[in-house]
Amino acid sequence: MLCPACTADMPEDDIYCEDCGAPMTLDAAGPLCPKCHAGAEEIDSDGYCSSCGFRRVPHERDHIEIELSPNMAGVSDRGRKHSSNDDYLVMRDGIIVVCDGVSSSQDAMLASKAAGDAAADSIAAGKSMQDAIADALAAVVALPVARSDADAPSTTIVAARIGADSAEIAWAGDSRAYWFGPGTSQQLTRDDSWLNEVVSRGVMDEASALASRNAHAVTKWLGRDAADLEPSVLRFEYPGDGFLLLCTDGLWNYAQTVSDLEGLTGEPCDALITARTLVEFANAGGGVDNITAAIWIRK
């Protein structure tokens, strides 16, 4: 049974979603009350919930657009179902960092921001990508823990240092980097997910692993309970003209294959317009998660 709020797969008899806490019976027709998870029909025209009375207060991170140039821009959006945007986007000259705060952890918004800012600072300072991820991890671990360590603040990360001929990319979790070019389009990152882990270890074939409700559970993240993290790092030589896309699962859940995504972007000439197109596509599909898409066009 899929959670109507966040689409996490839960056992049939669960009453509340383990991932986001929403009741499994709720009507997922629109935005939810952030406090009591009442459905859209309970929210009055001024935004107050007619069940618990709380109103969702707009947040500056609900929708972020960053445009460094016509070739480099990104959008991060709350989506249609989550009450906050736990994704975080940093774009600086030659640097993109995308983080997806783990919604079931405490202070997911703070975790993604701490990681994103720390990684971008380290990359800008000329440190290695491994060190940048280590600094991001340290920043997340340094966050105060309100409750038990079990759900300490956590986030995924994908970071790119963009050079003239190649890009260095590092990641942990299921936020992705793609390259799109004529005949060269490919997914650069490989999700740290339960699916990939069992398949690569030969425990299960892909079809039966995909059928499991654990398929998309992340196996690596930045957080207090992931102190021995080894990030994945690669260098990608550009095969020609094309563009890089860094994004969170809020996007790729709606466009599962490289060609699905390529069909949406076409050949971009303006990075911001393309990023917006991708975010709008995910929202039109339901926007069940936060959505972040960042683009650098090589010309």
């Binding site: 919930c49 007619s50 618990c52 709380f54």
Partner: protein, 426 residues
């Protein structure tokens, strides 16, 4: 057509962890010009007089009551149905309900003139008889005036409470005590429960003018059966709902519950140019800093021929903040009426202490009352207090208890202590 508007006065900012939300809701009616006949009254009006004819009324009091009733009957407009009940141990409808046309008035005058005083005081029987009359005209504006001079018979306490409950929502009743042998709290319980005023008529000679004022107010009502419906969020609790102006009336216990999150408080009939203030205190589940909550929605509802119409609405908010400058401010309407309630309680407790001989306590409480009356500009209450205490310094509430206070003055203070001073416009 009478229209209504509702306005909220509150400081919605609360410090972290705070659960109590206070708001004053001002409800005002407008539309009918003063003195002009009410424009929209399909159900008509019914006015009843319940006159005490127990043995103790014999003499000057009964004669004054007869004179007052005769003057009032003369003044009742012809479109108003009226009746008269004579009450003692039992009760008799001496004038059955009919429009106040000359023939009916003539019969009524004859019946009133023949009244004799005899028997005990069993007010439950009077109210029960009035209830039966008012039930004949359920769509009308239904107002009664009850006059008594004595305490209700002890054996009637249970029946009286039960009858009051039956009468709630069926008619409203202004209560008047003549002389000084009646019980202020007993009569106020009837007046408050039946959404009416309660007052003392110490001198029988003042009865006629008082009755005329009650009639004028009753026939001036243009809409009936108005209620305030308060929605509160899940997990919230209404601590109290009080009318705080023109007089204090605790409505908390009078609420009905049309649905699980809503309580409905009766406000009775309104004229076309009235303004009343209500104080709501709601306990909510506290939010975090930055959270905003709709802590209550007060909706004014009119019921006519079983059809409910929402006629005004006001929202009570809560916003949690870590800015102390915002959260520590006390809204001046809330402060004023909290003070007026404190004033009434101090008088009540002060008079109680005085009657039991606890003079230090009485001096402190009545001194506090003098200070609040002075600070809030409640001159009417200050004047009543001056009959009971000598004031050395009103600003600090320094007073001395008067010796030889007349029972009339003490009862007037007790009866009228719940009359509040309207807050001045800022």
């Amino acid at each position: 057509m009478t229209t209504f508007r509702a306005e909220v006065f509150q400081n919605q900012y609360l410090p972290q962890g705070a659960r109590e939300v206070h708001a004053i809701v001002t409800v005002a009616s407008e539309g009918a010009a003063v003195g002009s006949p009410p424009s929209f009254l399909p159900g008509g009006k019914m006015f009843g007089i319940l006159c005490d004819v127990s043995g103790s009324m014999e003499g000057e009091k009964l004669q004054a009551a007869k004179d007052a009733m005769l003057k009032v009957i003369e003044l009742i407009p012809p479109d108003v149905h009226f009746f008269v009940i004579a009450g003692a141990t039992g009760s008799t409808v001496i004038v059955p309900p009919a429009p106040a046309i000359p023939d009916h008035k003539t019969q009524a005058v004859r019946a009133v003139k023949q009244l004799r005083a005899d028997g005990a005081t069993m007010i439950s029987t009077w109210l029960q008889k009035a209830l039966e009359q008012f039930q004949m005209m359920p769509g009308a504006v239904r107002q009664a005036l009850l006059l008594t001079d004595g305490q209700n018979d002890r054996t009637d306490a249970g029946p009286l409470a039960a009858t009051i409950a039956h009468c709630q929502g069926i008619f409203q009743c202004d209560c008047r005590g003549v002389g000084t042998d009646w019980d202020v709290q007993q009569l106020k319980a009837i007046g408050n429960s039946l959404l009416g005023t309660t007052d003392i008529i110490a001198r029988p000679a003042d009865m006629a003018s008082d009755f005329q004022a009650v009639l004028a107010s009753a026939v001036g009502k243009s809409v009936s059966d108005i209620a305030i419906r308060l929605w509160t969020p899940a997990g919230a609790k209404v601590l109290f709902c009080k009318q705080v102006s023109p007089a204090l009336v605790d409505l908390t216990g009078m609420a009905s519950s049309p649905n699980p999150r809503t309580l409905q408080y009766p406000t009775g009939a309104w004229s076309g140019n009235e303004s009343r203030d209500y104080h709501f205190a709601i306990e909510v589940n506290p939010g975090g800093v930055g959270d905003e909550m709709l802590a209550g929605r007060a909706t004014l509802v009119m019921t006519q021929n079983s059809v409910e119409t929402k006629i005004a609405e006001a929202r009570i908010l809560a916003v949690w903040t870590d800015d102390e400058a915002k959260s520590t401010r006390i809204e001046r309407h809330v402060a004023h009426y909290t003070g007026q309630a404190d004033l009434a309680e101090s008088i009540q407790a002060g008079l109680e202490a005085k009657s039991k001989g606890r003079e230090d306590e009485a001096t402190a409480l009545l001194g506090k009352a003098v200070r609040i009356a002075h600070e809030s500009g409640n001159e009417a209450t200050a004047k009543l207090l001056r009959a009971v205490v000598d004031i050395d310094d009103a600003a600090t509430g320094t007073v001395r208890l008067k010796r030889n206070v007349t029972k009339e003055d003490a009862m007037a203070l007790e009866t009228r202590s719940t009359k509040t001073k309207r807050i001045q416009k800022a």
